[in-house]
């Protein structure tokens, strides 16, 4: 244990924490530009802590929308986190006392890093390193961005958006080892791409998730063994 703390999951979690955390600069700068004060920026990053929703909230305000409209957009965009909560609960089997803390750091990055691992220990490490790592850096850089304002410029100029694309692809890649997951992945890409122009931000990923669930239920029934005994063998050890 003492020698093996710095595992692949830890490295993945740290990489994604740095790439995502730096985006906090852009959030802080845009939030101040949208009319928030420093404390309001800090509350959003520390408590709301789900980047998409935060950007949606200030985006609505910057566009002249009301705080109620900002609230609605942010909340809609956050619904996917409840799907993540279910996934993480099933994968990590957390004790009840840890759940409130885990819920707070249940976001795209921590969920993706955790589910990208194969062993339980690595899944746990990936979740905590990415979740807490993103939280710390995201909040630190939100303050930096809010203080420096728009002088910091666009994180796209540093290639951070490219880093995010690579980070998520790197997590998906090891799962594409047989025909079925490749099929599911392409299906999800298609549903997401078709849904983006016609739905509110945050909805496409929910539609892709719903399509995957329906597909999984149909294929499960088809492949189900006839006997009770056979069915029990399907349970993973």
């Amino acid at each position: 244990m003492s020698t093996s703390w710095f595992t692949p999951a830890t490295r993945m979690g740290l990489s994604i924490a740095v790439a995502t955390g730096l985006y906090g600069i852009s959030f802080g700068a845009l939030a101040v530009a949208a009319g928030l004060n420093l404390w309001q920026c800090i509350v959003l990053s520390a408590l709301m802590f789900t980047g998409g929703s935060q950007f949606a909230f200030i985006g609505v305000l910057a566009g002249g929308g009301t705080p109620v409209a900002g609230y609605s957009a942010a909340s809609l965009l956050g619904i996917r986190n409840s799907v993540y909560g279910m996934q993480i609960k099933q994968a990590l089997r957390p004790s009840a006392s840890l759940v409130p803390l885990m819920a707070q750091v249940t976001i795209d990055e921590s969920t993706a890093t955790s589910l990208g691992q194969s062993s339980l220990a690595e899944k746990k490490r990936g979740f905590w390193v990415a979740g807490v790592g993103v939280w710390l850096l995201w909040n630190l850089f939100t303050i930096v961005g809010a203080l420096l304002g728009e002088r910091m410029g666009d994180p796209a100029a540093w290639g951070l958006d490219g880093a995010a694309v690579a980070a998520f692809l790197g997590l998906l890649w090891p799962r594409l080892k047989s025909a079925e997951p490749v099929f599911v992945a392409f299906g999800a890409v298609l549903v997401t791409a078709l849904a983006v122009p016609v739905s509110a931000p945050g909805v496409p990923i929910l539609l892709a998730a719903a399509a995957a669930v329906i597909y999984a239920l149909i294929t499960y029934r088809r492949g189900k063994p006839a006997t009770e005994h056979g069915q029990r063998q399907r349970v993973e050890p």
Binding site: S75, P204, Y220
Partner: protein
């Protein structure tokens, strides 16, 4: 406290409640064989959807920009079994390179 501050607080509490709600699905439901199968499929779909959102969308628009270069570069790095951190850096460098050379926005 201003009205805006109250809405910020309300949105933050809602976000936490939504995150927490997933953890209240009973373990018995999550552990059934059919749910294991659903979870495995859902994981792939969520990751693929996140890749798509990050690579091709801007707000509610589909766009092709330097990020597609980052996606391709990362895929090539993964084919050559590059370590994860290298894949992430390759993605960033590809996006920066394409923008600096003026080949993409």
């Amino acid at each position: 406290m201003s009205e805006l501050s109250w809405w910020i607080l309300a949105a933050s509490v809602t976000a936490f409640a939504v995150k927490l709600s997933g953890y209240f699905v009973p373990r018995k439901v999550l552990d059934s064989p059919v749910m294991s199968h659903v979870a495995a499929t859902l994981t792939v779909a969520l990751l693929a959807s996140l890749v798509t959102m990050n690579a091709f969308t801007s707000g509610t628009q589909l766009v092709i920009d330097a990020r597609i270069g980052a996606l391709a570069a990362a895929a090539i790095a993964l084919m050559f079994r590059a370590p994860y951190l290298v894949v992430v850096i390759v993605g960033a460098l590809a996006a920066v390179g394409l923008r600096m050379s003026g080949l993409a926005t």
